[in-house]
């Protein structure tokens, strides 16, 4: 920086004696007062070339419409409005030089196009601006709209840069600009090769720009062409029709007569119920129409039809290729290699990103399914209303949020409250319904379905059909971004942490507490457990409450990143069932394995076919049905006699 200042000071010293800024401006005042986008470049070049230190300030204020011209002598000043007139400041020193009355000065108002050109001229000054924010702004401007002339100023500014972050950014941009605009082919190739290790979108955009190509057709591939790859007519890439159209557009073949053109020609030639010799009624097939057209075409000066054989012959006698806009094969070759290398790195990061997505989806499925797995494992009961407990938890969060405006506090309140509400609902359901259907799992399934539709409709009646927002606190907004490819929203991390928390909590409850011991005893052998003094009814009630309570927590979590609707439960219930079925019953690890498998699977399928999440779900379910073939009892199956037939 110091060097640049010294340099500028030296320049100023040498030039000041020669010319002032006002002199420069007065050399062609028209160009300043009434600039056009086309002409302003010349003036700017002159101003910049002068090396006067006040030029950047002038350009900025000109751009900001703060320059005025005094009508009496045509001199330029900086002007600020005061009363009816302006206060005038000298363009070189910036000192106040007087006032003007109304209508004594003209305000200069360069149009948007001119301001843009001024802006890009300013960038080279801003690149060395002492204010780091302005240097960054200048870099943003270059990155947004790169141009060849920015390369030199950017390079010049590298030396004086003292901020390591900005310096790195400048070096990257210099590399990007060099790859595109460097005149010396060898230096350019070096710049391109350096991009191979760069995975940003910008870098890939530059490489793709260098590799831009278009399809071409000719009698033969000319020697000077830089061929990207050859095209075969009739392939997926270049269908037969499209290939022929290329020939026609290149003037290498006569256009085909379309079926619509034939019809129009026949209609035009219609006379007395006949076209030529053919009665209209016979023209109900393509063959008949072709024959009729061939008959009338010569007489009416219509173009002859091109037969399929002629099309084939034309396609066969011409060459088709994808032609690079860049004519230097060495450069496109380097760009191809660099792009391949970048794409490899990008796909690695993409895989990592998908893995993160899969983990977060798996956490959601785990939270949604673990309650179901517990009740299924301990009691052999499939609770179809489980999804509605998720919904109840989410609505609890929503209601708390309407009462407590602070999002952080309301979230802290909502989690235990959602657990309490759904725990109570679960216990009530167990006591009122499920207990009376002991050992009739299919009937329980249907009875809980009845409860499910009733709860869903009640929610609809209370909260309406539109989605209710559950807003996350601001510290959960945003995302943890590693690079252009890899990133994950904080809310998903929070859900992952929540899932881990519950995994730990459940493992603790099941393996380290008296309740857990009794639950495991009931799971493995209900009769024996009962005879040892464990009250299976109490265990069933508590288990059901616990499972439902976790569903409530899951509801808050899901509500935070999706919307709260009365139907949100049914969106997750089938996936939850699948998680339980795939994972195996009565085991926390099984549910974890099931949730992971389904999460990874769904994201994996979406990776192959990202446009279609519906198809992904379809394939996933088909996979699960196939999976059950090989492990009918799930991934983590109980073994031995306890597992049953």
């Amino acid at each position: 920086m110091r060097i640049v200042l010294a340099l500028i000071a030296a320049l100023w010293a040498s030039m000041a004696s020669a010319q002032t800024l006002q002199d420069l401006l007065q050399a062609d005042p028209e160009a300043i007062s009434d600039p056009s986008r086309r002409t302003v470049g010349e003036v700017l070049d002159r101003l910049v070339a002068s090396g006067l230190p006040e030029v950047p300030t002038f350009l900025e204020r000109w751009q900001a419409k703060e320059v005025v011209q005094r009508q009496s002598d045509g001199l330029f000043f900086y002007g600020t409005k005061e009363g009816g007139g302006h206060v005038l400041f000298d363009v070189s020193s910036g000192e106040e030089v007087g006032h003007s009355g109304p209508r004594e000065v003209d305000e200069l108002r360069p149009n948007a196009g001119v301001r843009g050109v001024i802006g890009s001229a300013l960038i080279q000054f801003q690149l060395s601006d002492p204010d780091i924010a302005r240097r960054q702004a200048a870099l943003d401007a270059i990155a947004k709209d790169p141009a060849p002339e920015q390369l030199e100023p950017l390079r010049a500014s590298l030396e004086g840069e003292d901020d390591p972050g900005v310096l790195a950014r400048k070096e990257r941009l210099e590399n990007l600009l060099a790859a595109r605009f460097e005149a010396d082919p060898e230096a350019r190739i070096a710049a391109i090769e350096a991009l191979g290790s760069d995975i940003t979108v910008e870098a890939r955009a530059v490489l793709n720009q260098i590799l831009s190509s278009e399809p071409r057709a000719a009698d033969a591939i000319p020697a000077e062409a830089n061929v990207a790859w050859k095209l075969t007519p009739g392939s997926d890439e270049l269908p037969r029709e499209a290939a022929y159209v290329m020939l026609v557009e290149a003037g290498l073949a006569p256009p085909r007569v379309t079926e619509n053109a034939i019809r129009d020609a026949l209609v035009a030639a219609l006379a007395g119920g006949k076209v030529g010799d053919a009665p209209v009624a016979t023209l109900g097939s393509d063959e008949a129409r072709h024959a009729a057209y061939d008959a009338i075409a010569p007489a009416r000066g219509l173009p002859p039809r091109i037969s399929e054989e002629e099309v084939d012959a034309a396609l066969g006698s011409h060459a088709f290729w994808q032609d690079y806009a860049e004519k230097d094969a060495a450069i496109t070759g380097a760009a191809e290699r660099a792009l391949a290398s970048a794409v490899t790195r990008v796909s690695l990061y993409q895989a990592a990103d998908i893995a993160l997505d899969a983990i977060s989806l798996a956490s959601i499925y785990f939270l949604a399914a673990i309650g179901l797995a517990i009740t299924f494992g301990v009691m052999g009961v499939i609770n179809m209303a489980h999804g509605e407990f998720i919904m109840m938890g989410a609505y609890t969060g929503y209601v708390v949020q309407t009462l407590v405006p602070d999002y952080t506090l309301s979230l802290i309140l909502a989690l235990p409250l959602a657990f309490a509400v759904t725990f109570a609902a679960g216990v009530a359901m167990e006591r009122l319904v499920i207990r009376h259907l002991a050992h009739r799992p299919l009937e329980t399934l249907l009875a809980t379905f009845g409860i499910s539709i009733a709860l869903q409709q009640i929610a609809k009646n209370i909260f309406g059909t539109q989605a209710r927002p559950l807003t996350s606190p601001s510290w959960l907004d945003g995302a943890w971004i590693v690079n252009d490819v890899l990133g994950i929203a904080y809310i998903r991390i929070a859900i992952f942490v929540l899932a881990l928390l519950f995994l730990g909590l459940l493992l603790f409850i099941l393996n380290r507490t008296r309740l857990g011991l009794e639950v495991r005893a009931v799971t493995q052998n209900p009769g024996m457990a009962a005879s040892m003094g464990i009250d299976p009814d109490r265990i069933a009630m508590l288990t059901f409450g616990l499972g439902s309570g976790i569903a409530g927590i899951a509801g808050v979590a899901i509500g935070l990143y999706a919307k709260v609707t009365s139907e949100m439960g049914s969106d997750y219930i089938v996936q939850s069932f699948m998680t339980v079925v795939v994972g195996g019953v009565g085991n926390v690890w099984g549910t974890l394995a099931g949730a992971s498998l389904i999460g990874i699977l769904q994201k994996g399928i979406e990776w192959f076919n990202p446009s279609n999440t519906l198809a992904a779900q379809t394939y996933m379910i088909l996979f699960i049905i196939a999976f059950i073939q090989f492990r009918p009892r799930g991934i983590v199956a109980m073994k031995g006699r306890a597992a049953g037939a």
Partner: protein, 246 residues
């Protein structure tokens, strides 16, 4: 006498517990055989393996003169080969009548299409009536099996086993819950059946076994401890240790 069933060094373990440990056994074409042993000796698991319910970790179960290996076959296929089983707990179809239970068990074509088009013939009716008379349920034919007493259900299951007309009957504790007279009747039935086929009886009750007057195999911890006449095995020191020693 030719061999009907040859169990060749089978082993199976559940979660590390060896339920059957290198067990070998042969059953001849006809005659009675009793298998005894304390709880957990592997009696039921042995029957599960032979009837195809449980797959052994190793070993073979050979059937008939051709020496067909039953391991890996489905339960229904094995049953169709002529292997009938009566369960420890009486297992009949409680929602259906005694006649229907017997009718289902009758030895008839078992493929789905034949079952679909099956009609109860006069021969079937006569056979059901005869069986019902044999097991003392002639006047209960129209009743639902669920309404029968425990002992009657035992009888019904024996009747179903007879109706299947199998080459090998595997009978698990047939005498449980029966009166003395009924036990005698059961013994008669089994001995009569054993004249034309092989009958294997798994029992706890030494008195009942004594009445069967047959060769006895003692199982312990999944393997054969002793084999021979009842007197012979009860004199065996190992058997005494296992049964009485503790």
């Amino acid at each position: 006498m030719t061999t009907l069933l040859e169990v060749d060094s089978i082993s199976v373990s559940f979660d590390g517990f060896k339920a059957i440990n290198n067990l070998s056994l042969t059953i001849p074409e006809t005659g009675l055989r009793a298998i005894i042993g304390p709880n957990g000796a592997g009696k039921t698991t042995f029957m599960d393996i032979v009837t195809g319910k449980t797959r052994p970790d190793s070993g073979r179960v050979l059937w008939g003169q051709g020496g067909m290996d039953l391991v890996g076959m489905s339960e229904s296929r094995i049953a169709r080969l002529g292997l009938g089983r009566k369960f420890q707990r009486p297992t009949v179809f409680e929602a259906q009548t005694v006649a229907e239970n017997l009718d289902m068990a009758l030895r008839n074509a078992r493929n789905p299409l034949a079952v679909l088009l099956a009609r109860r013939t006069d021969g079937d009716r006569a056979r059901i009536a005869a069986l019902a008379e044999e097991i003392g349920l002639l006047h209960h034919l129209g009743r639902r099996a669920g309404e029968l007493s425990h002992g009657q259900k035992q009888w019904l299951e024996i009747g179903m086993l007879l109706a299947q007309d199998p080459r090998l009957m595997l009978v698990d504790e047939p005498a449980a819950g029966m009166t003395v007279a009924e036990r005698e009747h059961t013994t008669d039935l089994l001995r009569r059946a054993a004249r034309t086929r092989a009958v294997v009886v798994v029992e706890h009750d030494m008195e009942f076994v004594r009445r069967l007057e047959c060769r006895v195999t003692v199982l312990h911890e999944g393997r054969v401890l002793a084999e021979g006449s009842l007197d012979h095995v009860t004199g065996n020191q190992d058997v005494i240790d296992v049964y009485l020693g503790r």
